[in-house]
Amino acid sequence: MQKVEKEILIKNSQGLHARPAALFVQTASKFDSSVRISKDAEVIDGKSIMGILSLGAECGNKIILTVEGEDAEEAFAELEAILSRQEPKK
C-alpha cells in the first residue's frame, strides 16, 4: 500500500469551482486508491463533487491531498496537476 500526502496551493483564479471539481472526481474515480482532501480540519471524500464544492476552496487557499492505495503515486500526480493548474481569468 502506498500513501502520498502533500499540501497544495490552489492557483486557479476562480478557486475550486464546479468544473475543476468534476474533472477531479472523474480522474480520482479512475483509480482504486482512496482520495481525501482536507482544508481547515475538514476532511472530505475526493471522489464526491459535493464534498469538494463544500470546501469552498478559493485561489490562494491551501489544502492537503491524501491518496492511499496500490496506484496512489500515479493517481496523486494526475490529481495534483488538476489542483495546481492555473486557469486564465475571465
Partner: protein, 155 residues
C-alpha cells in the same frame, strides 16, 4: 453565507414538469420572470449563458442534484431558484443518473466570489444524506423552505 437569504419561498418550484435540461432551465427562468426577478427580455440571454456553461461540462454533481449557474451583467441581484422534478430530468450527469433537484444560481458579473461561496453553502447542506432525501420527498415550497432553515440552524 446562507441559502435562505437568496431564496424566497416563491423561488421554490415544486412539481416542475420538464424532462430535459434546456426545458427545465427555461421553466425555472419562466418562474423568475413571473416573479419579476428577471425581465422577459433577459430570459433568453440567461438561458444561453446557462447552456454554454453546461456544454463545458454538466453541472449535475451526483445524487440527483444539479447546480446550473451563470454570472451576467444583466443580473442585478444574486438569487437562487430551486426546482423539484419528481419524474427526473436528463442532465448528462457524471453518474448517469436522473436529476430530481435543481439549484439554479444567478449572480451579477462583478460578484466573482459569490458563486463559489454559494456552491459551498449548498453542498454543505446536501452532504447530509437525510436532508437530501427529505428535500426530494417534499411536497410543498413551504416544507422545503422550513427544511432549509432548520438545517441552517443546526449547522
Amino acid at each position: 453565507m446562507k441559502l435562505s437569504d437568496y431564496l424566497s419561498e416563491k423561488q421554490i418550484i415544486v412539481g416542475a414538469k420538464s424532462k430535459k435540461k434546456k426545458e427545465s432551465l427555461k421553466e425555472l427562468l419562466g418562474a423568475l420572470v413571473s416573479l419579476r426577478k428577471i425581465s422577459p427580455r433577459s430570459r433568453n440571454k440567461i438561458l444561453s449563458s446557462l447552456m454554454a456553461r453546461e456544454r463545458l461540462g454538466s453541472t449535475a454533481i451526483g445524487q440527483g442534484v444539479a447546480i446550473p449557474h451563470a454570472r451576467l451583467e444583466l443580473v442585478k441581484k444574486s438569487l437562487v431558484v430551486i426546482g423539484l422534478f419528481e419524474e427526473g430530468l436528463e442532465f448528462d450527469s457524471l453518474d448517469g443518473e436522473l436529476v430530481y433537484v435543481v439549484f439554479l444560481i444567478l449572480s451579477p458579473k462583478e460578484l466573482e466570489g459569490f458563486h463559489l461561496k454559494m456552491l459551498a453553502t449548498i453542498s454543505k447542506l446536501l452532504r447530509d444524506k437525510y436532508f437530501l432525501e427529505r428535500l426530494k420527498k417534499s411536497k410543498t415550497a413551504s416544507e422545503i423552505s422550513q427544511l432549509i432553515k432548520s438545517q441552517e440552524e443546526r449547522m
